[in-house]
């Protein structure tokens, strides 16, 4: 904040570079993360288009790409996974929304460390450039899958991408550093910079979620950073940390990777859950049901997420007693998550629901994520997992979790806060067309893949013709349906980009609070100027006071003082509140 004291001038007189590229303003940094993430999503989306076309029409030339070689296929699969998790889900959900919302929702003028924030984005951008550059190094981008299991990842003899593999490790490590810096900023800001009057349980759920997610990230990524250093040395110097021939252990990487990798699921899930928690009360005009339950279950999820990682390794030769233990913890973690979804459904119950585009995204998040969660039960149980391991069933399962998180959650957030970000409304008709086609196409991709997976269809196979059991016309038909679903999903995305850009310049002017919502960001002008609030707000109540009895308005913003001492409710009127 001291930065602002030194430079009190508004941003309009600072020139383009200072305003958009070298800014310490949390909103500009949020936009940088958002647009970088969207750009990376295009690259990740193109990668999946190419390899899905290869799977549906093996050996044929893919439009806009050409014939796919086995090596290219491996690189594309690896880069799709890496990009979508680390360069799309993380920057958009955690960094873009975290940066945008935390100071605005807490009622302060910026992050506590604006320069660290800028550095965080710059390191992230560098990591993105390094990763994308790996497409053009000799041998092509890393082809050892996004989980980078050694010996495949450690030895160029196996992955055939000597330079791509090393560039990949460096890019991922840089990206982690960027998010560590960002996370420290988020947590510190939330702890120390809340508006006067805002107590712990007056903080909007999405801020809670982003902060808990940042702490999870900080607590889980360290071992993988150490593991990445070891992998780097294995690749470059020829050490043998993961090489059994020298006494090393390839399973060590799996432990380090999944000790991070499983909490990572919740690192991106919790912000998406938070976004949905903000949207549902606004469009149900009803108080969020069980605020504290959500906070406690999120904390519980975070803690339990550190004890489930080995469910990824049931077939890696781990001790069967350990497998039973991790089966139990994995099944337990579905309880708090289910509880959160029930709480959202309870919020809807009896509300006066408006199906705006953001609300549609939020509702579809609940519905689709539910399918992802339920199929996870099969995979968490060691017995079933041994059959289903590394099949398309697993792939369909985690896409039913990650797609709702990273894509549906992000669209929900973007469509909901767009009026705040750009001061104009998005077009509802285009928004709904985009929504329905995306959701239907998404299910057309992954329901067939559940079926092929259950039939034994193995992942990471470039061409099924060598596998007579899998090269059947029935399975191939399902693969083609999935690819057609994907192509439709990609084909409708220009509608979103068109809507986004047109609404930015030509949309209906939004005003400060178009959704008649309670949280503090809606009390700032749209878009908020440098410094956010004309006068820093004070907080008088929790964030979800909708349809309060004895009030004419059906919302009651956090910053509006009590107009008159409310009449004491009669003792008998205690009921649904």
């Amino acid at each position: 904040m001291s930065e602002l004291a030194v430079h009190p001038a508004g941003h309009h007189d600072q020139g383009f570079v200072k305003t958009y590229l070298w800014s310490t303003d949390h909103k500009v940094i949020a936009m940088q993360y958002l647009f970088t993430g969207m750009l990376m999503a295009l690259i990740g989306g193109f990668a999946v288009y190419v390899f899905r076309m290869q799977l549906a029409f093996p050996g044929q030339s893919v439009p806009l790409f050409g014939r796919v070689s086995a090596g290219q296929y491996n690189s594309l699969v690896t880069m799709h996974g890496t990009i979508m998790i680390f360069w799309v889900a993380m920057p958009v959900l955690l960094a873009a929304f975290g940066n945008y919302l935390i100071p605005l929702m807490l009622g302060c003028d910026d992050m506590v460390f604006p320069k660290v924030n800028r550095l965080s984005y710059q390191i992230f951008l560098l990591s993105a450039v390094v990763l994308v550059a790996s497409f053009v190094v000799p041998g092509g981008a890393f082809g050892g899958a996004w989980t980078a299991y050694p010996p495949l990842s450690a030895n160029a003899v196996y992955n055939l991408t000597r330079y791509g593999a090393t560039v990949w490790v460096v890019a991922v490590a840089l990206e982690f550093v960027a998010f560590l810096l960002g996370g420290i900023n988020f947590v510190t800001t939330a702890m120390n910079s809340r508006a006067p009057g805002m107590r712990m349980f007056d903080v909007p759920i999405v801020v809670w979620m982003i902060v808990i997610a940042s702490i999870l990230f900080m607590a889980s990524v360290g071992p993988l950073l150490a593991g990445a250093a070891m992998l780097f040395f294995d690749q470059v110097l020829g050490t043998g940390f993961y090489d059994p021939a020298t006494g090393g252990d390839p399973i060590l990487w799996q432990h380090l990777f999944w000790f991070f990798g499983h909490p990572e699921v919740y690192v991106v899930l919790l912000p998406a859950m938070g976004i949905v928690a903000e949207i549902i009360p606004v469009f149900s005009r009803k108080k969020l049901f069980g605020y504290r339950t959500i906070v406690y279950t999120a904390v519980a999820t975070g803690v339990i997420s550190f004890f489930v990682w080995a469910h990824h390794q049931f077939v890696a030769g781990i001790d069967p007693r350990m497998a039973s233990l991790f089966t139990i913890t994995t099944l337990i973690i579905s309880v708090p998550i289910a509880e959160m979804l029930f709480v959202y459904i309870a919020t809807l119950y009896g509300g006066s629901i408006t199906l705006t585009t953001p609300m549609l995204w939020a509702l579809s998040f609940v519905a689709e994520f539910l399918l992802g969660g339920v199929t996870g039960i099969f995979l968490g149980a060691a017995g079933a997992d041994i059959y289903l391991h590394d099949t398309y069933f697993v792939l369909a399962h985690f896409h039913y979790t990650f797609f709702p998180i990273a894509i549906i959650g992000a669209f929900a957030g973007i469509t909901f806060w767009f009026p705040k970000m750009f001061g104009r409304m998005m077009d509802e008709r285009l928004g709904k067309i985009h929504f329905w086609v995306t959701i239907i196409a998404f299910n057309f991709i992954f329901i067939p893949l559940f079926m092929t997976g259950a039939a034994g269809d193995h992942r990471r196979i470039f061409d099924y013709s060598g596998f007579p059991d899998l090269a059947t016309p029935g399975l191939q038909r399902l693969r083609i349906i999935a690819t057609m679903g994907l192509v439709s999903l990609l084909a409708v995305q220009p509608v979103f980009f068109f809507n986004f850009i047109r609404s930015m310049v030509r949309g209906r002017v939004a005003g400060a609070n178009p959704w008649r919502a309670n949280t503090l960001e809606w009390s700032a002008p749209s878009p908020p100027p440098h410094g956010n609030f004309a006068e820093l707000p004070e907080v008088y109540r929790g964030p979800y006071e909708y349809s309060t009895e004895d009030r004419e308005e059906d919302f009651w913003p956090q910053h509006v003082p009590d107009d008159s001492p409310a009449p004491a409710p009669a003792a008998t009127a205690v009921g649904w509140r």
Partner: protein, 179 residues
């Protein structure tokens, strides 16, 4: 009640650093327990050099604490001088380290000579990188402190330096004493 923002951030930095070293040392301990033969490799580390470095590093923390005390009394120039003693301590530590490594590499024990040596150079190297970073930050802090500015930073960099000490207190027995 509320922890000052800078100090709070340092604690979060240390929390994330703890798991970095925790992951590395945890991996080392798990593997070491399974490979008794590593003791033969470990026998070649110089325990006396390690012990001397422990002494140097812990002593350097003393002047960091005294610098904090001086900063509390708003005596910036004194705090800056004391911080520079700590930097000196870090410098001695690195020189001993350089002497050790030169000797060991000369004997043929490089990072690829066996998994013990891989862990030895990786863990101690990562720690040394933290020592260097601490020295650079402390030098920058000493410049502002000498002008009596931003004195709260003296304490914050001191907290970081103590963490670097604590990591070494784990490394010394694990890499030198356990033979």
């Amino acid at each position: 009640m509320e922890v000052p923002t800078g100090r709070l951030a340092i604690w979060w930095v240390l929390a994330s650093e703890t798991v970095v070293f925790g992951g590395l040392l945890g991996s080392y301990i798990m593997m070491r327990l399974r490979h008794g033969a590593w003791a033969d490799q470990a026998a070649n580390t110089n325990t006396w050099a390690g012990a001397f470095n422990t002494l140097v590093l812990l002593t350097s923390s003393l002047s960091a604490v005294l610098a904090h005390q001086a900063a509390e009394r708003a005596d910036g120039p004194k705090a800056a001088r004391l911080l520079r003693y700590t930097i000196l301590g870090g410098g001695v530590f690195l020189m001993v380290k350089a002497f050790e490594w030169t000797h060991e590499i000369g004997e043929g024990f490089t990072i690829t000579s066996g998994l013990f040596w891989s862990f030895y150079y990786t863990a101690a190297g990562l720690h040394a990188a933290h020592v260097v970073a601490g020295m650079v930050i402390m030098f920058i802090v000493s410049l502002t402190a000498a002008r009596n500015e931003e004195l709260h930073r003296v304490e914050n960099v001191g907290i970081y330096w103590h963490f670097v000490d604590v990591v070494w207190i784990f490394l010394f027995p694990l890499l030198y004493i356990a033979k």
